[in-house]
């Protein structure tokens, strides 16, 4: 299995973004990030219920317990729109990362 250990944390730290989950909605629902650069994304779940933050195109799938947060490393994204959703409340918890 080919593996390159860890994306440089320093490079990613320059592009740090935060999303919050409140009342089963994302804030902001549209997040703009620079294209072709690694970045980190912290998702804070302010609800008491757990949420599964999921995005096929960002390749993220993770349960975030209530009142806690998770940080993800985003691979350098080509310009475009990347949808994400909260799988446990997918009728309200929707959003997009826009790489530009």
């Amino acid at each position: 299995m080919a593996s390159v250990m860890g994306i440089s944390a320093a490079a990613a730290a320059e592009n740090a973004f935060t999303l919050t989950i409140k009342d089963h909605r994302f804030e902001p629902a549209e997040l703009r990030v620079p294209a072709n650069q690694p970045a980190t994304l912290t998702v804070k779940n302010l609800d008491a219920t757990p949420e599964e933050f999921e995005s096929k195109s960002l390749r993220i799938e993770k349960v975030i317990p209530g009142n806690s947060e998770a940080t993800f490393t985003l691979r350098p994204l080509k310009a475009g729109r990347y949808k994400f959703e909260g799988e446990f409340h997918d009728n309200t918890a929707k959003g997009e990362v826009i790489a530009e």
Partner: protein, 277 residues
Amino acid sequence: MLGALIIVFREAIEAGLIIGIVLAVTRGVAGSRGFVAAGVGVGALGAIVVAAFADRLSQAFAGSGQELFNASILAIAVVMLVWHNIWMAQHGRELAQNLSDVGRAVARGDETLFALTAVVGLAVLREGAEVALFLYGILASGESGWDVFAGGLAGLALGALTSVATFYGLVAIPPRRLFAVTTWLITLLAAGLAAQCVAFLQQAGFVTALSDTAWDSSWILSDKSIVGRVLHTLIGYADQPSAMQVAVYLATLVVIVAATKFFAARPPSASVGAPAE
């Protein structure tokens, strides 16, 4: 209630399919039902423990604990399935005769029964942890209470029904063919799990090569739909896999088929010291 039912059912499908396949593979083996039940029980218990410590697990390994945990579970399951297939290949001649021979042959190989039980336990553990966390969170917050909890239990029941349907679907296949069918099912299942394992390692940032999306077939069949989920488990279907996932999927297939052929070609005693891959 319907929402909770669907969420829990979606999580339970994968474990349900795997339990059904294992039940079919070990049919006729004395005590196999007990082994499978034990796998489900231990998996469910483990799921509750994992859900209780989800917060701490999540924070472990610089926030990648959950991913590494999932990747480890999947990797162990793949190894168990490969082991099972190789073992079955070694005993292919006795198995080719009839189903009661399959029973006796598998009964002699306690290891492979244990391996399949472990696969069942790991599947229940992984999917069950999410279900437990979801239901616990709803009850703890008092958000919508018992109605949602009842929906969750109904979802679990549907998951169990998936096991039953899979089992009866497979045992309807003539015994002579069943062996070949389940061997292929387990091979594809293992390749799919290996690709999922790599997806978690990519998410954790441990694997960064070939991270671009190989194709997007979500407009034909979303792997979030019920049919998509079933195919996801059975053959590893993904609607937007990364190039690395595709590479690992194909590599796993090649390795299992080659290893199965290699071990099937000679008696078990001659296979000692064979290259382990």
